[in-house]
Symmetry: C2
Subunit: 231 residues, 2 copies
DNA sequence: CTGGGCCAAAGTGTTGACACATTGCGGGCT
DNA sequence: AGCCCGCAATGTGTCAACACTTTGGCCCAG
């Protein structure tokens, strides 16, 4: 039953998959800076594989719009300009707002109650402990729970796929925007109440406003306006 | 200067690109039915190329979510079930609604006036001639004009890329839903007026309702509920 | 000194062969 | 007779070499 006894770093299935994940992670943590060039041959040598899997991984990144490329030119990691991030947030507001609206119609009372319990648990835990890192983690969980409850696989894929990935990259690069303390949590409660009241439009509006605030905060804090890559 | 003297069908650049477009077109017009299996070797022989480009084309289709595939299994053309299409329309309502909202803030008066002129021109032309085909073309133009005016490249790509593609496929397969005569045009006028009044929320609501009606009509007309492919 | 074109260097596109995973079928065991 | 195991058959994953395109630099003409 033991599938793979090797302790190699994440050798699950196709090499292209492994390389794809590796490149993705490298883009996340900045080892692959924005604007960096991806050389197929060099990467192939680095990973000790042929160019085929590398090529496929790069094409997948292109599909996720994380790298730009045209026919015979080299691929380069996309530049996450503030303008680009603003557009990303607009898409997120649209999709996650709709997800919220749908969730108000489709999530069960039990599911909603469970989310409420977890929010409560988080609040008490945050009051006693002072770990700021946990907060962010919990925030993401709240959003993801609602998105996954919307009953629309397409929306789930888009938001939990590339979208969150890219936003996370930007957030990390921009040096963890200053938290707005308990306010997000308060807004989460409002959203949850709207969901429990089955008021889809209200829930959508609240979610949009919630995301909009996060967006403004993120974009304004380092409104210097440079591309985050030109250093 | 004559790049390629061959009269072959659309040999522009990379083979993978050519094959990708060919497969896309074949999925459109139904030569590749939903649920059909894509065999890399067979396609390679058919196109007289190696498996590399074929493989790449299939992966791109996978990126567009037009084929489903997992690591070692064969790729198959996606099944456009009514449920799937419903979800697609929900995404479209979210994104195109947001696009409409943004367009209300960002499109110039001149652009909006031009769209109004074209709508007017279409109305008079439709009143005299009875070509129903022109109508649909014009409808799409209206939607696309607004989307492209929203100032958000991400939204434009998503909607005018795979989204419209898939919906067009479904519409074609389902046998051109019965037109609801002049009503769409009337709703277009309402949307345009909201845009000119710079009322983003209203424009968004109208656009959502407009798309929602089209969705219901499409899904109800052949509510038989089968997958469109199981014949 | 400047501009244009040739040429090598770098990198992507494509190929055919080989290795591995999955599947369906047939034979042997219970 | 029914079930499980193993084995070919099918098809995907990977590789290393070759062909084509682009790019940057060098040389030469003006």
């Amino acid at each position: 039953m033991d599938r793979t006894a090797t302790a190699a770093p994440a050798n699950d299935g196709p090499l292209a998959e492994t390389i794809f994940r590796s490149l993705l992670k490298q883009i996340y943590d900045g080892r692959l800076a924005a604007g960096a060039l991806l050389n197929e041959a060099a990467l192939a040598e680095e990973y000790q594989v042929s160019r085929g899997p590398v090529r496929e991984a790069i094409r997948r990144l292109q599909g996720f719009q994380l790298v730009t490329r045209e026919p015979y030119l080299r691929a380069r990691v996309v530049q996450l300009t503030p303008e680009f991030v603003r557009q990303l947030y607009e898409v997120r507001m649209a999709l996650e707002g709709m997800a919220c609206n749908l969730a108000a119609q489709r999530m069960s009372d039990a599911e909603l109650r469970k989310i409420g319990d977890e929010l409560e648990e988080y609040r008490t835990r945050a009051a006693s402990s002072k770990s700021g890192a946990r907060v962010k983690e919990k925030v993401f969980d709240f959003h993801e729970r609602i998105v996954r409850g919307c009953g629309n696989e397409r929306i789930v894929d888009m938001l939990c796929g590339d979208m969150y990935h890219m936003l996370r990259i930007y957030r990390k690069r921009s040096g963890a925007a200053p938290e707005r303390k308990g306010q997000p949590s308060q807004e989460h409660w409002q959203i949850l109440r709207a969901l429990q009241a089955r008021d889809g439009m209200l829930a959508e509006s609240l979610m949009r406003a919630h995301i909009g605030k996060a967006s403004e905060l993120l974009l304004n804090t380092h409104a210097g306006g440079d591309t985050l890559a030109s250093h």
